[in-house]
């Protein structure tokens, strides 16, 4: 038996508990994610997708229930640097060059300088920014910055990737390219991905499973397995793809999105 990548048991999260601005963000979430899965969280704004991701990342504590990551507590997994995370905002460091931004996690993990340089170069090529290593983030467009943030999250090839609407700022062309790159990385390495998006086609194209959430309080409403096999340029025209998209859209209408 392999250990689960993520197990959330009866997890609830209340912000500002006991104060007048109390918000019940998540209620009784049960979610098990096996290693190698690509799971997408989708749902109306404010239904707690980011919150769930931050709980898994152990950036905030649960109010009740428990979360384990790679068979350890979420906290321990964070300390062991088991996951890489990409946020809704690119969050690059203006004072570091693009290459140095990508090398940041590697520096913190004590990689040798030559190894860091080699890896950041590889990552820059991956996100098609090979010529921009020595630029500062302020010199890049929003979409380019977002690609740097993705390269940074991937740089140390973590076994778990947590991504919060990472492609939101990208144009359609770049977006499809980076989607394919992400899928390639996911297939080549045995990474587990938890991905938040607002785009139904993106969710279906990327995932093995789509988790539809409902708001106030945030709960899991439906889970839809997607079985499209290997993705390629024809996948988006596939009847199976359209059928899955329709299914997710219906589930979202039920929760009022």
């Amino acid at each position: 038996m392999t250990t689960e990548a993520i197990r959330a048991t009866d997890v609830s999260k209340v912000f500002n508990l006991g104060k007048t601005n109390q918000v019940a963000a998540l209620l009784n979430i049960d979610l098990v994610i096996e290693p190698g899965e690509f799971v997408t969280l989708i749902g109306p704004s404010g239904c707690g997708k980011s919150t769930l991701l931050r709980l898994i990342a152990s950036l905030i504590p649960t109010t009740s229930g428990s979360i384990s990551v790679n068979g350890k507590t979420a906290e321990q997994a964070r300390l062991d640097q088991d996951y890489g995370m990409a946020f809704q905002k690119a969050g690059l460091f203006d004072w570091r060059t693009v290459a140095k931004n990508i090398e940041l996690p590697l520096e913190l993990m004590g990689w040798k300088s030559s190894e860091r340089k080699a890896r950041s170069k590889e990552m820059l090529d991956l996100v098609q920014l090979g010529d921009f290593g020595n630029h500062h983030p302020a010199e890049l467009s929003g979409g380019m910055q977002q690609r740097v943030a993705i390269a940074r999250a991937l740089s140390f090839k973590p076994s778990l990737l947590l991504m919060d609407e990472p492609f939101g700022a990208l144009d359609e062309m770049t977006r499809e390219h980076v989607q394919d790159e992400l899928l390639r990385i996911w297939q080549d390495t045995d990474t587990t991905v938890v991905f938040v998006t607002h785009s139904v086609p993106e969710a279906v194209y990327l995932s093995t499973r789509v988790v539809v959430m409902s708001p106030r309080p945030g709960q899991i409403s439906t889970m839809i397995d997607v079985d499209l096999g290997g993705r390629n340029q024809f996948t988006r025209d596939d009847p199976g793809f359209h059928q899955a998209v329709t299914e997710v859209r219906k589930a979202l209408r039920v929760v009022g999105a």
């Binding site: 931050r54 990342a57 950036l59 964070r78 300390l79 062991d80 640097q81 996951y83 890489g84 995370m85 946020f87 905002k89 969050g91 460091f93 203006d94 004072w95 570091r96 940041l104 996690p105 913190l108 993990m109 500062h136 302020a138």
Partner: protein, 258 residues
Amino acid sequence: MRFRFAEASAPLVAGVGILLLWEGSLWILSPDGFVLPPPSDILGSVGENASELWTAARITGWVVVSGLVVGVAFAVAASLLVNRFRLAREAVTPLMVAVNAIPIIALAPIFNNWFGLTSPRSNQIIVVLLVFFPVFINTVKGLSLADSSQIELMETYAASQWRITREVRIPTAMPLFFTSLKVASSLAVIGAIVAEYFGGRQDALGPMITQAAGLTRYADAWAAVLVGTIVGTILYFLAVAAERAAMPWHDSVRRGSI
């Protein structure tokens, strides 16, 4: 940041224009040069007293620079502590506010009593105190402006608090720190010279000004003021140079503002 002749010559032309206007209007309004001597007299006095002025500039300059360095070092250390430890923040902030409200320059005669009338020590301490607050307040503010998502990102890498300060908080605080450093460099010169009016070495700039003014030798007094201005200007541009070296990535530096 490129050096262009037009940009460099503009302030020069403006400066020469103002000096000519000054010289010319005194010629007409107050030929005795009693209150405000013409620039030619002041420059003449600088030439005559060059060696005394050079000595005075070194003595006062040392008070300014040593006070500035110590004051800034204390301010930065204190702001890092206050940012890092909530207890320090709560204990120290009210005290800081109270001390900040003291008109520090007014303490000069008292400090002279403590450290001896001819010791430069009391003047240095005045400068340290004057410099401390603007740098402390701005640096604390700057450290607290760090982007919470950048801090969260560092937490996902299990970075230590000190590492987060180094990688995120300190770079975020730099623009405010350097702005306060420029303010502090001017304050340090003012503080040193005014403190010298009350004591310290008698061959420093401050006593030169009071003595010359007491003897109605106004050109000599203005010559000493001019030297003080030059010390302040040099420090200001050193601060600008340090800023450019420390944060070449910042928008304000890239656009070349001061």
